[in-house]
């Protein structure tokens, strides 16, 4: 299917921070953002993940790839799903895993991010999985970490959540096969979403047929079209002929800051109900990075319905994260 669609026109920055994702030999060392990976690396990660998916079905759900290595989950922001799937992924690769929840400890005592980093580094960690509320935090840590340490971004501010975008691409590829014929719509709070930003880069790298974002103007950032998306403010028009619908989580504080009048109005206009789902293609699938606010951005009957692949996303997340960990750790050896 030919779709008349403009490819991204991203101006080149004076300095490309994503270049530090690769080591001197051009191998992936850190995963900080989808930008700069290109279809080659994304496809390599997805193919590797395919190989790891069978591990979860075995009696002994372990491979010895990272035996003797230490993975530290450094979470400066609360998270259940992402942290547990990273933990599980590391354990299935036989790594030792340390979970450090910093949202309530060191940083509130005035300890700087760099101090925290140095202290944990002293514990001889090999990999940091980092979530932080500031955009660019994972890059910052990758730049200042010891040379042997790999850094995986598990979400930084509004900037990036690359493993989420990869597991979404993985889920789509398993169900739909090819990306080129697909129309994908990302619905809701794109402005504050690191997930949406990483998805936009991933799907464009994979040459998806058409990529749309749908939401009110307050939740769609300025100048987003050059990243390679079409903007829709009307749900019916935006969902027309769409193969994949990705609903984003709507944070409650958006109402307090005057971006939306109420949850009810958002649900009426943009919440994915069974009725609105009919506007998309009949075989469209529904995705959500979780955790879903039922009755705010998605109706329960849709979230639990036959077109929903939300739980597959979660289990695919383990395989994709195993793949990323294995690939990044093989860089330095």
């Amino acid at each position: 299917m030919a779709v008349n669609f403009v490819r991204p026109l991203i101006p080149k920055l004076a300095t490309d921070p994503w270049a530090i994702q690769f080591d001197a030999a051009g191998h992936l060392k850190h995963l900080l953002t989808i930008e700069g990976l290109g279809s080659t690396w994304i496809t390599r990660i997805l193919d590797t993940a395919e190989g790891f998916m069978s591990v979860s079905d075995r009696d002994i759900k372990k491979v010895p790839l990272l035996r003797g290595r230490t993975v530290v989950n450094l979470f400066f922001e609360a998270s259940t799903r992402t942290r547990t799937t990273f933990e599980l992924a590391a354990k299935r690769l036989s790594a030792d895993v340390l979970n450090i929840n910093l949202s309530t400890s060191a940083t509130t005592k005035g300890e700087s991010l760099l101090d925290t980093l140095r202290n944990i580094e002293a514990m001889q960690a090999d990999m940091f999985v980092v979530r932080h509320e500031q955009s660019g935090a994972a890059h910052f840590i990758a730049r200042h970490a010891a040379p042997h340490v790999s850094v995986l971004n598990a979400g930084d501010g509004w900037h990036a959540h690359p493993t989420q975008a990869l597991l979404d691409a993985f889920t789509i590829r398993r169900i739909k096969g090819e990306f080129a014929p697909l129309r994908i719509a990302i619905v809701g709070d794109v402005k504050h979403s690191r997930v949406a930003r990483s998805q936009i880069h991933a799907f464009n790298s994979l040459n998806v047929g058409e990529l749309r974002v749908i939401g009110p103007r307050t939740l769609i950032p300025n100048d987003i079209e050059p990243l390679g998306v079409r903007v829709y403010h009307d749900m019916r028009a935006g969902l027309k002929d769409v193969d994949i619908i990705i609903m984003l989580r709507l944070q409650r504080e958006r109402m307090e800051s005057g971006l939306l009048p109420s949850e009810q109005e958002f649900y009426r206009l943009y919440g994915l109900t069974e009725e609105k789902l009919k506007w998309a293609k009949p075989d469209a699938i529904v995705m959500h990075p979780g955790p879903a606010n039922r009755g705010v951005e998605i109706e329960s009957r849709v979230a639990d319905g036959p077109q929903s692949v939300i739980l597959q996303q979660v289990s695919n997340g383990i395989g994709v994260r195993m793949a990323v960990m294995a690939l990044c750790m093989s860089a330095e050896s």
Binding site: I10, K12, L13, P17, S112, S135, G136
Partner: protein, 462 residues
Amino acid sequence: MIQNPPNLGIDLDPVRHPEGCRPGIDCDTWLIRGARVIDPNNQLDTCTDVYIADGLIVGMGAAPAAFVLEQAQQVDAQGQWLIPGVIDTWARLREPGQEHKATIATETLAAVASGITTLCIPPDTDPVLDTVAVARFIKRRAQLAGRARVVAIGALTQGLKGELLAEMAELTEGGCVAISNAHYPVRDLRLLRRALEYAATFDILVVIQPEDPSLAKWGCAHEGIIATRLGLPGIPVSAETAPLAQLLAIIAETGARIHINNLSSRAAVRLIEQAKSEGLPVTASVSAHHLWLSEMDTDTLCGNTHVQPPLRSLRDRDALRSALADGTIDCVISDHQPHESDAKLAPFPATEPGISGLETLLPLVLKLVDDGLLTLERALDALTRRPADLFGLTNSGRIELGARADLALINPDTLWTLDETTLQSAGRDTPFFGWDFRHQTTATWVNGKQVFFRADGPVMSQ
């Protein structure tokens, strides 16, 4: 008259003496021979000798009658430019209050090492510069450091809180050259209007940096394609233009002399242009880094491009350049904000805004001249005569008989690179490391005293 303070047993001269620099020679009679003397406002651009005595320029070309050549230090300055010392009207020296970032001693040395002879410092010191005592303290510290002249800009409101007017008449009588609320907003427009009316009574210059705190809230970068792509909270152009338009409406009624500080956007330039065409008493400045950098230089690996107001689009940058060239923007400032290294060691949004700008002010503006974007006349006017006139430094910023001998000698053709070794400021937070420049300050005089010279610079003889 300010007296030297008694020795309080504290280190009063913590000046670093970097290689190639040394403290001033205690001599106030100078003959600078053969330099290309440039002062566009006096239609002066000629190779001649300049005679300095008693802090003033006493002769040009030929020695004045009373000049005793034998007592004078002579400088052979052939092939160099002698220009009026640069007047930087917005530079934070961090003293008093934030001496862990920098001190008056360290920063005034950085200033004179880069051709700046006068620094105006904004009132957001700690304690706030809302009393004459603080202004005197700053002046005294600068005198002890013995480098650049430092003058204070007093507070517009007490504690910069935007609630009660500061004693602006007393502040200006006490030596403040202007008043300002720095980057703190005056939210109450009635109070702002009254502050401007009161200032107009005494013809006090009010410096205002327009930024609406609610529109700029949480923001750290220009709201545009780069912020969208990097997920950085944006600061829209309206954060600058909305308060500026309000301010201009108030000025139309009150008539106060207003200097708009640190413009960042094309839309704000348009507003200034219109206000000037309507005859409003408005002038404006831009920082040197906004003339060279844009959102495209946003580097999330390093906080050195996190500035306030933010670096905007290339179109904005180009509009600022042409507004400087045509005089819509009057002066260029350094917006110097030296930081300790920890202030910039964080993810981009968490870094403190501001850069160390003193030492790139003159080189960056002269680089525009090299690139044919600005005439040398306008460049020097924007750095010397224009700020001198606006801030009431009436005998500075010019080279003429009887003018204050605040001068900078520039080697116009020496390739040098800004790096860790050439930067003097205690603040190492500059995005210009690695940039090449052609113009280098080789010697500086303040009040007729040589306060800086570069060892490989001009030849000295007696």
